[in-house]
Symmetry: C2
Subunit: 405 residues, 2 copies
């Protein structure tokens, strides 16, 4: 048996999928979880699974499955998009799963199932569909999640109730494989075709609040001020210096949200709340960074007479990829694209991180042009898409041997 993937059919399906919720701007899509285009895309996908000879299933949260008989490898990702998203984020992994399951069926084996998880992009939570399926979040808790408009997850998933069957028993799968665009610049800048993911980085996320003294911007002399925006600015500059000896080139940290109260030109602010998020592949480093953050915030507060408080720390642990599956992907990459691949971390969270609770998982990346993602401009050269598919297909044969061993 030898899987014969068909690049033309694969690309055709990818382009068909992007018509669901096409933004009308480049190849961009607007296909958030449970929107009409998202549901229509999932129904189209179920038909493709059925055409391929797979048994189709929608689970209670709207993830759609194409199931091979007996024990099988599972391949997939998600077909919901960001509010303003690209055509490949999630869709690539879903159509890779479809094509490889289809080609494997045509070849008479190995057994490959396919999936498109629901709400990976976090309209309600984060990787909601795969977290509920894997038990990371229970359905009752998930049902209480709301989107930014106040719609509950329970009401959203009720939109697909007419399609819903039971949850799929995870014991039928031997492992999970997810192809994804890198969403960063490393492969593209290096002119490489494939990344074999070593681990999905851990994330720490919290809010920090400096409180000072709200005052008149004309009559309060500088030496009397306790301006928490200045505390935030100093904190940012200090942690950048202090992280220098702790981080790797892959470590990142971000303040993406800032609230300055009361927010008027003529009032010295009384309060500044801001988000602080950091990501790294090692729990130890995440912990060290947390120490630096807390120490620096405390020091800035003490120096300037501020009070400082922090929200609960939200933590997602780093998830290592299965060694045997990584090896299979690496061997296939060296065969298909010799010298044009690397092992690398995933800085973004993916469904594979949820599924890792249940079974061995691995991921493969293809380059993102200019590192752009979560935007209509997101794109990848078609030859790179096909190379990724070929590497994965070849790895599937290697893995089906390795995992059976």
């Amino acid at each position: 048996m030898m899987i014969q993937i068909r690049p033309d059919r694969f690309l055709q399906d990818l382009h068909t999928l992007r018509q669901f919720g096409a933004a009308g701007v480049g190849k961009g899509v607007v296909r958030p979880a449970y929107s009409d285009p998202d549901i229509a895309a999932r129904e189209w996908l179920a038909e493709r699974y059925a055409d391929a000879g797979l048994k189709t299933r929608f689970d209670p949260v709207g993830s759609v499955w194409g199931l091979a008989k007996g024990q099988s490898l599972l391949i997939g990702s998600h077909s919901d998009s960001q509010p303003e998203g690209g055509w490949l984020d999630g869709a690539l992994g879903v159509v890779c799963g479809l094509e490889i399951a289809r080609a494997a069926m045509e070849a008479g084996g190995p057994a490959v199932s396919a999936v498109s998880f629901q709400d990976e992009e976090g309209r309600f939570g984060v990787t909601t569909g795969s977290r509920v399926w894997s038990g990371a979040t229970d359905l009752k808790s998930a049902d209480r999640l709301t989107d930014t408009q106040g719609l509950s997850f329970a009401d959203a998933r009720a939109r697909m109730r007419h399609l819903a069957g039971d949850f799929v028993d995870y014991k039928r799968f031997t492992g999970f494989l997810e192809a994804h665009i890198e969403q960063g610049p490393w492969l593209y800048e290096a002119g490489e075709a494939v990344g074999v993911v070593t681990d999905i980085v851990g994330i720490r996320d919290m809010r920090i609040t400096f409180e000072g003294e709200q005052n008149h911007a004309g009559t309060t002399p500088m030496h009397r001020r306790r301006d928490p925006l200045q505390a935030m600015a100093r904190f940012q500059v200090l942690i950048a210096e202090r992280f220098r000896n702790v981080v790797t080139p892959q470590t990142v940290w971000t303040t993406g949200h800032v609230d300055v109260h009361p927010g008027a030109h003529s009032i010295v602010p009384g309060r500044c709340t801001f988000s602080m998020q950091w990501r790294d592949g090692e729990t130890e480093r995440l912990k060290k960074m947390e120490e630096i953050i807390r120490d620096t915030a405390g020091e800035v507060a003490e120096d300037g007479g501020f009070s400082v408080s922090t929200s609960d720390l939200v933590g997602i642990e780093p998830v290592p990829m299965d060694a045997r599956m990584q090896a299979a992907l690496g061997d296939a990459a060296e065969d298909v694209a010799p010298g044009r691949w690397r092992r690398m971390q995933s800085g973004a969270l993916h469904d594979a991180a949820s599924v890792a609770r249940l079974m061995p998982v691995a991921m493969l990346f293809v380059p993102s042009i200019n590192g752009i993602s979560h935007a209509f401009a997101e794109d990848t050269r078609e030859e790179d898409l096909v190379t990724g598919l070929q590497v994965m297909a070849q790895a599937v044969e290697r893995m089906s041997v390795a995992l059976a061993a």
Copy 2:
């Protein structure tokens, strides 16, 4: 003739005035321009002017006047408050004007008129009532101003149409005197009773925008980021250093408003817009600070690959107080509170700055406990209020001689 002010009557009127819109929290008031409590307070004030023997007038924007016969000195301030204001901000100067005009009338001279300007606190503009009266803003432009709820100045002032007469001819006044709480900490910290204002500082105000590149907070390495929030933080730290050799202890600068776009924990911001306001008594220094601000913003932008843009610069020039009136206030202060007064700048804008377009003006400050203002907690010891009134009353006699000379 000798003006005999009556401290008891003065304090009684101040406490009566704070019942209009009493917040129910300490001595706080909620009496924004054109609110029911504001209009009721102005009607009460008109009755007090009439009781004192002054001719009352509401002008077309709702400023209320108590007019002495013939040429007179004008004394007053404003009786509208901040949305959450104190009992003395404006009210002190208004009741000083009432008491001195009343006492002068009882003494048979000198001729003193009184005024409470409308909307000093800027529900619609800034010092709107006195700016319209002085010609700094024409009524047609003012009518198009709106409050934060979208109500127009035209519709707001229509609420007082049944009271409105003509504008008062400014030529009947020989000068304008305004008593006010300091709203800052200098007098209180020094244990002094009176400040004689030398000038009202100039203000420069603009918005600065750094634009970088919006990106995924997990997949974009630090060396590839152009994060405009980091640019803003660096800018704040740099200008604080660079201003050091340029500013005086009275110079102030403030960033009170910050907008980080799109404002999500997991997205490296693409844009950061923030307000930059600075105040000083000297036009030259304001200009030098503007240079430093523009140079530093440009330098930060160039270093980090940002684009930087600025809004139009809003400028209010410094307003010097009349030398003869200052001298009269200083002599009176030395007589009433020897060694317990100082000359000082006003870091806040006041109606006197508008009126200075028309006639000589001067201002007197009394201490603010802990420098607090624009808050329910704003307060001043009653003995300091009375000392301020006494200094002003004595100065009025000196001035009426000086200005007639």
